[in-house]
């Protein structure tokens, strides 16, 4: 019972709850949304134990949706999507709780959109039908557009539109590619089907058209990741989005790009993905993301922008890990996807808490506040350290595995990527210093309130994860290993061993 319905429940429940929120009185909206998201999390928690690491794609449900077009409602999880689902259900309640004071207008609409967004996010990660995937991709796009555009900062309309156009452009390309793919496979098999499994097993050799299809998927996902040079929507969207929007954007939405590569782009078109020129291009763009993203982050006066560019760098590690196709690097990439969600999510919460107090995100607006808000300073320090990958925090586990594994495939590239470890310290530590250390020279900072119990309730679960995953990531690694292995096998045999660079 649980096994068959849990994923559907996770998609449906937030959407239902959104309707309830809309119907309820305005002042109850946030409480209902919080309760609904906590229930959502509770529904998802047993997955941790129910999930069978060696069981492949599981907890599946497959019902015809539009049978005449070969469209089914098919959902399931493996060791790759499991953690994205759990990350989503874990972060949504925190985001809602973190919005309690931030969102003061049109609360009903905001929380309803947050819940719809949740449905969309879960749907993207569990869809095993490409049409359903496409629908979910757009379902999560629209609420985020409104969250940025309505509750965002001063330049919110520009940022929201940029986010929307960029992502939608990618998703249209993806739609074309999906339709083409279905058509091509149907020509060979005589069956029109959007089923992931059907397409995977019958895709065969596509010849040159594979390059075009890969290109379309690549653009859709690379924009989402975002990879250089498709990243400029991200700083704008992050800066303008309300805290909860920034958190979910960074923690979950960006992962849809890398997830897309893991689930679709590489397994569908391994011969393209492993083409030496494509490899070289993607590895190079990943390295640019890591180094360039970090250096640009270093120059940012706006704390939120700094974190946004740091995301470009972190996701560069993920892309490098995926393309290196070793067990360590792929598991590392999955760990970075989780860890970036936790650490960067926490950073956005913290910056949001500063913003609520001072209505500024500028690093220069602060200074020396560790004296006034020691608890805040302690949490910001821990989270920053995890973001720069200090060993025994979660950040280290992912980056280390990515680099260790990537070094086997691309030693030079991994060496260059390792400089990202230095760059990370160069952008985050000076920012940390300028916010919490240095003289307390601005009188308006002298009376800042330290973290409230509600804020602690948002942050402590994240801090706990930072330490847990840093010290004992084994339960995560064990659950993802067979799926990572299968991913590699689905890509590897298609081409001779990747040329070492």
């Amino acid at each position: 019972m649980y096994a068959q319905s849990v994923l559907t429940a996770l998609i449906a429940w937030p959407a239902i709850a959104a309707v309830v929120v809309l119907a309820a009185p305005e002042r109850w909206a946030k409480h209902i949304a919080l309760a609904a998201s906590l229930l959502e999390f509770a529904i998802s928690v047993p997955l941790w134990w129910v999930f069978q690491p060696a069981g492949g794609m599981q907890l599946q449900l497959d019902v015809p949706w539009i049978p005449s077009w070969g469209i089914h409602y098919t959902v399931g999880v493996d060791g790759i999507s499991l953690f994205m689902v759990l990350l989503t259900t874990f972060l949504v309640p925190l985001s809602i709780l973190g919005s309690y004071n931030y969102i003061t207008t049109r609360e009903r609409a905001f929380y309803a959109l947050m819940l719809v967004l949740t449905s969309g996010m879960i749907g993207v990660f569990v869809s095993l039908d490409l049409f359903l995937f496409y629908v979910m991709w757009d379902v999560m796009l629209i609420p985020m557009y409104f969250i940025i555009g309505v509750w965002g900062g001063q330049n919110r309309l520009y940022a929201a539109l940029k986010f929307f156009v960029y992502t939608f452009f990618g998703s249209l390309l993806m739609l074309v590619a999906i339709l083409t793919l279905v058509y091509l496979v149907a020509q060979r098999t005589g069956v029109y089907s959007f089923s992931y499994v059907h397409l995977m097993s019958n895709i065969g050799a596509l010849g040159t058209v594979a390059f075009w299809l890969f290109g379309a998927f690549f653009l859709a996902f690379a924009i989402k990741v975002p990879m250089f040079p498709f990243h400029t929507w991200l700083p704008d969207a992050h800066v303008e989005a309300p805290t909860a929007g920034s958190v979910l954007l960074a923690a979950v939405l960006l992962k849809m790009g890398t997830y897309g590569f893991l689930r679709f782009a590489l397994p569908f078109f391994p011969q393209v993905a492993l083409h030496p020129a494509v490899q070289a291009a993607i590895v190079t763009l990943s390295l640019i993301g890591i180094v360039y993203g970090g250096l640009v982050a270093m120059a940012q006066p706006d704390f939120k922008k700094l974190i946004a560019y740091s995301s470009v760098a972190h996701l560069g590690f993920v892309m490098l890990g995926i393309w290196a196709l070793t067990l360590q690097s792929v598991q590392g990439a999955l760990m970075v996807m989780i860890n970036h969600g936790i650490s960067t999510g926490a950073l956005f919460f913290l910056v949001g808490m500063l913003y609520e107090r001072r209505h500024s995100r500028l690093i220069e607006a602060f200074g020396g506040i560790a004296k006034v808000v020691p608890l805040f300073a302690a949490v910001l320090t821990i989270v920053s350290l995890s973001s720069i990958g200090l060993p025994a925090t979660n950040g280290f586990v992912g980056e280390f595995l990515v680099l260790l594994g990537a070094f086997r495939t691309y030693p030079i590239a991994a060496g260059v990527a390792t400089t990202g470890v230095i760059v990370a310290a160069m952008y985050l530590l000076p920012a940390l210093q300028r916010v919490i250390y240095n003289p307390l020279d601005k009188p308006e900072n002298a009376q800042l309130a330290d973290l409230s119990p509600r804020e602690l309730a948002v942050l402590l679960p994240l801090v706990a994860c930072i330490v847990w995953i840093g010290v004992y990531p084994t339960p995560f690694l064990r659950r993802m290993e067979p799926s990572a292995q299968r991913f590699i096998e689905s890509v590897r045999p298609a081409a001779p061993a990747a040329a070492a660079r």
């Binding site: 040079p229 400029t232 250390y437 004992y472 990531p473």
Partner: protein
């Protein structure tokens, strides 16, 4: 079989970790509970020392040749990587654990007095406890990554403690600099790990060192790369050329921190790493030569800077860099036991020197505080004649000075001689070592000189501290002088640890470390010097040290010195040394500022904002808006017409792609 005390080895790092958690909680919620903080802070260190001592005692009884490995949990299992959270105990770890907890306990005790009036007392002890935890992880870790946890962890604590008084920007800057410079070294450590894993398929010390000889061809490219990258890590953590510049700035931290972290323990981590990886370094003559050469050069270079510093702690900082250079000369020469021996004796006498300077600064500071003076409490030009006010400190610091200068029979004499003797011996087989040895001897001359200078200017001659301040100059309380006395005793007799066979001693430490370093020692050419040559080498070192001391006494004129306020600016070579050869300025000009400029002006403002976002992204938006204007001619308002256009478009695209 390992019995109880060894099975409780985890307690050794766990105790300081508990201390950190408790003191950290107190720092956040009960910062004024100083009695509880001191009890916890010092207590966990004493207990950790006891636990370590019990483990060592038991271990000694086992006569164990191989390290004992204790696995606690699987840390990062991924494919063929099987990485456990595991500790190991062997002869080398035993020495390090005793030094870290022993000297650590003394410095914690000293801190009770030194930091007594500080508002951040609880936070201070929390950080200090955390440091000891990470340092123990570093020396007890059974694999490169577990060691790396300690390696970066001590760097973190160093960062937090250098910037302890964080509301002064200079302190926060110094902490940040230490962290970032260390990260450059950590980059080397990481690359070395990746190379090792690629070659051996493991990161655990046992398998890596066991397979090293089979996997790495001697003197091959890979092993040389491994050792050089590891050594890059060492130059960061242990402040060697070219990454030493953070350590003098680190003196911004409280003085006991300088004693514990930036003299006795953390900065010796690189020496420990080379000694730990002796099999790898023995396989790479080039790597070893680089270690020895950089060590010798650093020993000499830092000693020249120490000649002209006026801040008492800066002299000691450059002295530490210089002495670490000796240790690297030792381990690079293949004299691993000698390097570790000097690490131990240096921990005694340098901790004593730093704590002694802390006692001086404490007194000066209180005197200036009492008179509301803003003079520099660390500038030796403001001191002079302090032996009259701080007799214990003066006497004990003289012991340490003679020890570091290498005057027999103090501890430093034996350990420094062991290194210089080994370098000279290897020189008979590999002549480049004559150069290294020569630099070591020259550095010994300078060491004796600058240390005597420090003592003369601080404790002798006329008192240059103001008339009003003098009545306030006092010896520190017993919690501070007590640890000094213990360290003085250890500096005095530390040589007993490894009395050379030349003098009929038992070379205890060398034999004790034999199971760890024996294999590497056998891989090196064995060179035996005749006793006559050995005595000659030894006497030349002592002669040079004596010359340095006598020279300083003869040449320097403490009476002619003016207080810092009135002192004329330095000129010529003196200015060059006082300005530390302008290396900081050089790094700032050719590295730091270009990177900042590149990041801000080129990457961000030009490429990101103007080209990618401005020209391409928004440019295409403008272009499509123009197209849209054209397209608006097509807008008829008929929904059916749009649908037709859409379908045609999709078909065109799909058709084009298929064909």
């Amino acid at each position: 079989m390992p019995a109880s005390a060894l099975q409780l080895l985890w307690l050794v790092p766990a105790l300081p970790l508990v201390g950190f958690l408790l003191n950290g909680a107190l720092a956040l919620w009960r910062p004024t509970a100083k009695a509880a903080v001191s009890t916890i802070g010092v207590g966990v260190l004493v207990l950790a020392f006891a636990a370590a001592a019990a483990a060592v005692a038991e271990f000694a009884g086992l006569h164990q040749a191989a390290p004992l490995v204790f696995r606690y949990w699987a840390w990062m299992p991924a494919g063929d990587l099987r990485l456990d959270f595991a500790l190991q105990f062997d002869q080398l770890a035993a020495v390090m654990a005793l030094v870290v907890t022993g000297v650590g306990a003394l410095i914690h005790l000293f801190s009770v007095g030194y930091m007594h009036a500080d508002a951040g007392y609880a936070r201070y002890f929390a950080y200090l406890n955390l440091f000891v935890f990470f340092m123990l992880m570093l020396v007890l870790g059974a694999s490169f990554p577990v060691m790396f946890v300690g390696w970066e962890g001590v760097g973190l604590c160093s960062y937090l403690l250098i910037g302890f008084w964080f509301n002064e920007q200079i302190n926060a800057d110094a902490g940040k600099k230490a962290f970032i410079v260390n990260r450059i070294g950590d980059f080397g450590f990481l690359i070395a790990m990746f190379l090792i894993f690629r070659a051996t398929g493991s990161l655990d010390f046992g398998p890596v060192f066991g397979r090293a000889q089979a996997v790495f061809p001697p003197a091959g490219t890979t092993i040389t790369a491994v050792t050089l990258f590891l050594f890059l890590g060492c130059t960061g953590k242990s402040a060697q050329i070219p990454l030493y510049t953070w350590l003098p700035d680190a003196m911004q931290g409280p003085t006991p921190v300088s004693a514990l972290i930036h003299a006795a323990t953390m900065v010796t981590a690189g020496v420990y790493l080379v000694a730990r990886c002796n099999v790898l370094f023995a396989l790479s003559p080039l790597g070893s030569a680089a270690v020895a050469g950089v060590g010798a050069l650093t020993a000499l270079f830092a000693a020249t800077i120490a000649l002209k510093q006026w801040d008492i702690k800066r002299v000691l900082a450059y002295s530490t860099i210089s002495q670490l250079g000796y240790m690297f000369l030792g381990v690079g020469t293949g004299a691993y036991a000698a390097g570790i021996f000097h690490l131990v004796t240096h921990a005694f006498f340098k901790a004593l020197l730093f704590l002694g300077s802390g006692s001086v600064i404490h007194a000066m500071h209180r005197a200036y505080h009492a008179t509301h003076s803003h003079d520099d409490a660390q500038d030796m030009r403001n001191m002079g004649g302090l032996r009259r006010y701080l007799p214990w400190t003066a006497t004990l610091m003289w012991i340490a000075t003679l020890a570091i200068a290498g005057i027999p029979p103090l501890s430093g004499f034996f350990s420094k001689d062991a290194i210089l003797g080994a370098a000279f011996a290897l020189a008979t087989a590999e002549p480049i070592w004559y150069v290294y040895w020569g630099m070591g001897v020259a550095a010994a001359l300078l060491t004796a000189f600058y240390m005597t200078r420090l003592m003369l200017y601080t404790f002798h001659g006329a008192t240059r501290t103001g008339e009003q301040e003098r009545p306030h100059l006092h010896e520190a309380p017993w919690v501070m002088t007590g640890p000094l006395v213990v360290l003085g005793l250890l500096s005095l007799i530390g040589g007993l640890l490894d009395l050379p066979e030349l003098m009929g001693g038992g070379a205890f430490l060398q034999h004790w470390l034999e199971p760890v370093t024996g294999l590497a020692a056998r891989m090196r050419p064995a060179v035996e010097l005749s006793p006559v040559v050995e005595w000659a080498v030894l006497s030349s070192a002592v002669g040079v040290a004596a010359l340095g001391i006598v020279g300083a006494v003869r040449l320097l004129q403490p009476e002619a010195l003016l207080p810092a306020r009135l002192a004329p600016p330095e000129t010529g070579l003196g200015r060059l040394l006082w300005k530390k050869w302008y290396v900081d300025e050089l790094y700032d000009t050719i590295i730091v500022r270009p990177i900042q400029w590149l990041a801000r002006e080129v990457l961000w403002k030009t490429i990101d904002a103007r080209i990618v976002d401005g020209l391409i992204v928004n440019g295409s938006a403008t272009a499509s808006r123009a197209l849209g204007w054209l397209g608006s001619r097509l807008q008829t308002g008929e929904v059916g017409f749009y649908v037709v256009l859409f379908v045609v478009g999709v078909l065109l695209v799909v058709g084009g792609a298929v064909r």
